[in-house]
C-alpha cells in the first residue's frame, strides 16, 4: 500500500469504515423500497408516487447470485493497473433489501473459489491510484475465511 490518502472512487456511495463498510442507498419513506445507487426524487415502484426518501446503510452481507471474471482490460473510464490483473466479479443478493449488487471480488479470490449461494461480505479495496489519492471502492469477499487465499 502506498502512503497516499484513501478516497472513495465514487463520492457518497459507501461509508469509509475500512473494517465494516456499508453501501449507502436510499429507502422510500412511503413504500419501503430500497435503491442503490441512491434514488431521492422519484420512486420506481409503479404503485408508489412518493418523493420522500431517507438515506440508509445497506446490509453488508449477502449470498452469491452469480459470478464471473474479467480477463481483458476494460475500456475507459476504467483505470487499469499496468500490467493488467484479471479480477473476479460477483453479483450478490442482499436478503433484507431483496436486491442484487454487482462488484469486483477482492484480489486473490478467483472464480474457482466461488459458487452460487456462497455467503459474501462487503469490504473496501483499491480500485486505482491517481496522483493525489488511493481510490477505494466496494468489493465482495467470501465470508468463510477459507475462501480467500
Amino acid at each position: 500500500m502506498s502512503a497516499k490518502p484513501l478516497a472513495p472512487a465514487i463520492d457518497g456511495w459507501h461509508t469509509m469504515d475500512m473494517h465494516q463498510p456499508h453501501l449507502i442507498g436510499t429507502r422510500c419513506i412511503d413504500c419501503g423500497t430500497y435503491f442503490f445507487p441512491k434514488q431521492s426524487s422519484y420512486c420506481r415502484n409503479p404503485a408508489c408516487d412518493s418523493t420522500d426518501f431517507e438515506e440508509v446503510e445497506l446490509s453488508r452481507t449477502g449470498t452469491i447470485w452469480s459470478y464471473t471474471n474479467a480477463c481483458y482490460k476494460p475500456p475507459e473510464p476504467f483505470v487499469a493497473a499496468d500490467p493488467f490483473e484479471p479480477y473476479a466479479i460477483a453479483a450478490v443478493q442482499l436478503e433484507q433489501e431483496q436486491m442484487v449488487v454487482l462488484g469486483q471480488v477482492v484480489a486473490g479470490v478467483g472464480v474457482e473459489d466461488l459458487k452460487v449461494g456462497m455467503p459474501m461480505e462487503l469490504v473496501l479495496e483499491t480500485l486505482y491510484e491517481d496522483e493525489e489519492d488511493t481510490k477505494v471502492t466496494w468489493k465482495w469477499k467470501p465470508r468463510s475465511a477459507s475462501g480467500a487465499k
Binding site: Y34, P37, N69, I89, E97, M99
Partner: protein, 395 residues
C-alpha cells in the same frame, strides 16, 4: 386477425467489416427488399428507420436519411432507437401506421457501421450514468453474459461443452448463409482453445460487432391481396413490453437490480415477459413454433432464450441442444440463420435481419438452411436497461 400486416419483401446487405458508411448498407438492403416485393419505391408512403448512434447526425434521423438516399418522393418518415430492439420498434411504428389506415405500404430499414473495439461511454466523471459507472468499476458487456452463463452451470448443470456446442451448431448452419460474416465451421476443441474473456465464456462464445443492413417492405393484408400476394408471410405479433417491478435479474448496464423489499419479487425478467405478450397477441403458443431466431450475444444466452420462449422447461434447454432438437432438421431449430455467432451484431439492423430470415424460411427460400414445413417463426432480442422485443411471423 385484422391486426396482421403482410411482409412483401425482405433484403439484407451482407454482414462484415466493410468500412463503408451505414447509408450504403441500408440502401442496398432497401433496394433488395423493394425488388423482392415488386412494389415501386414511389408507392412506399412511410419510411421507418432504425437509428444508429455511432455514425453522426444522419444516424439519429435514419428514416429521413434513408428516404433521401433512395430519392425523396414525399413519404412520411419516422426514426426509432432502442439499441438492439430498434428494428422491432421501427417495425411496430410501420404496423401502427398501416393498421390505422394511414398508409398501405411501408419500408422498414436499419443499418450500422461499427467502430473498432469496445463501445466506451462518454467521458468525464458522471456517476449519474449507470453505463459510465459500470465501466468505471470494471464491468463490461461480457460480464453480464458471464454471470448468466455461470448461473446456468451452477443451477442446471450446463457445461462448457454445451456452450461450445451452441457455437459449433450455429457455425455449421451459418457456413451455408451467404449473408453471414463468418461462414466457417468450428469444432468444440477450437472453441475450447480460444481465450477466456468472462469465465465461463471464451472469445468464441461471445458475438462480435459487425457492419450490416436489413430492410422489409410491409403492407396491409388488403394491399397484399390486391397485388396478388395474399399468401405472403404475415407479422402476427410485435412485443416490446417491459418487465414488471421488481425484476430480480441484473441487466446491462445496471450495477444493481430493483429492490423487491416492498413490491415483492416479479419472477419473470423482461426476457420471459416479452414472448408471453407475443404469443398472446398472435393467439398461438410455443407448441405452434416451427423455428426461432434468438439473440445469442453469447452461446449460453441462446439457452436462456429457448427457455424464455417456453420452447423448453426452465433448465432443460441444454438437453434439447444435446438431443439435436435445436439444429436444422431437429424438432425446433434455433438460429437457422447462424445467429449472432455467424453475423456479429449490427445493432439497428439485427432485429430486422431476424425477421428477414423468418420471411425466407416461411417462403421456403432458405436453401441449404431450410427448415422443412416452416409455418410459424418467432424472434427474440434485447435492448438495454431490461427491454427488448419479440416478433412472430406466420404463413
Amino acid at each position: 386477425m385484422s391486426q396482421e400486416i403482410a411482409i412483401l419483401g425482405a433484403g439484407m446487405h451482407p454482414w462484415g467489416k466493410w468500412g463503408k458508411y451505414f447509408v450504403e448498407y441500408g440502401v442496398a438492403a432497401a433496394r433488395e427488399a423493394l425488388a423482392d416485393s415488386g412494389v415501386p419505391w414511389q408507392d412506399v408512403r412511410f419510411v421507418s428507420g432504425a437509428a444508429t448512434i455511432r455514425c453522426g447526425y444522419p444516424g439519429y434521423v435514419a428514416g429521413a436519411t434513408f428516404a433521401q438516399a433512395l430519392g425523396w418522393q414525399g413519404a412520411e418518415v419516422n426514426t426509432s432507437y432502442a439499441a438492439c430492439a430498434s428494428g422491432s420498434q421501427a417495425l411496430a411504428a410501420a404496423r401502427t401506421k398501416i393498421l390505422s389506415g394511414a398508409c398501405d405500404v411501408a419500408l422498414v430499414v436499419g443499418a450500422d457501421t461499427t467502430p473498432k473495439g469496445f463501445l466506451a461511454p462518454a467521458k468525464g466523471y458522471r456517476p449519474e450514468d449507470p453505463d459510465w459507472v459500470r465501466f468505471y468499476l470494471g464491468v463490461t458487456n461480457p460480464t453480464y453474459f458471464g454471470l448468466y452463463a455461470r448461473r446456468r452451470m451452477d443451477l442446471y448443470g450446463d457445461t462448457l461443452e454445451d456452450f461450445a456446442a451452441v457455437k459449433v451448431k450455429n457455425a455449421a448452419i451459418g457456413s451455408k448463409n451467404p449473408r453471414a460474416r463468418y461462414q466457417k465451421c468450428f469444432t468444440t476443441e477450437e472453441v475450447a482453445a480460444s481465450a477466456m474473456v468472462a469465465d465461463p465464456l471464451r472469445l468464441m462464445d461471445i458475438c462480435a460487432t459487425s457492419d450490416g443492413g436489413a430492410a422489409l417492405i410491409v403492407s396491409s393484408v388488403e394491399y397484399a391481396k390486391k397485388i396478388g400476394k395474399g399468401d405472403a408471410p404475415r407479422i402476427a405479433a410485435i412485443s416490446t413490453v417491459t418487465p414488471t417491478f421488481a425484476s430480480g435479474v441484473v441487466e446491462m448496464p445496471d450495477i444493481a437490480t430493483d429492490s423487491a423489499a416492498a413490491a415483492g419479487i416479479e419472477a419473470s425478467s423482461y426476457r420471459s415477459s416479452i414472448p408471453l405478450k407475443a404469443y398472446e397477441e398472435a393467439g398461438i403458443g410455443p407448441e405452434d413454433i416451427s423455428l426461432a431466431e434468438v439473440y445469442d450475444l453469447s452461446t449460453a444466452l441462446e439457452l436462456d432464450w429457448i427457455e424464455d420462449l417456453r420452447l423448453a422447461p426452465r433448465g432443460e434447454a441444454a438437453q434439447l441442444l444435446r438431443n439435436g432438437d435445436t439444429s436444422v432438421g431437429g424438432k425446433i431449430p434455433v438460429n437457422a440463420s447462424g445467429g449472432l455467432a455467424c453475423f456479429g451484431e449490427a445493432v439497428p439492423a439485427q432485429a430486422l435481419s431476424q425477421v428477414c430470415e423468418l420471411t425466407w424460411q416461411l417462403r421456403g427460400q432458405a436453401g441449404e438452411r431450410q427448415v422443412e414445413g416452416a409455418r410459424v417463426g418467432i424472434t427474440a432480442n434485447q435492448g438495454l436497461f431490461g427491454h427488448g422485443s419479440s416478433v412472430i411471423v406466420k404463413r
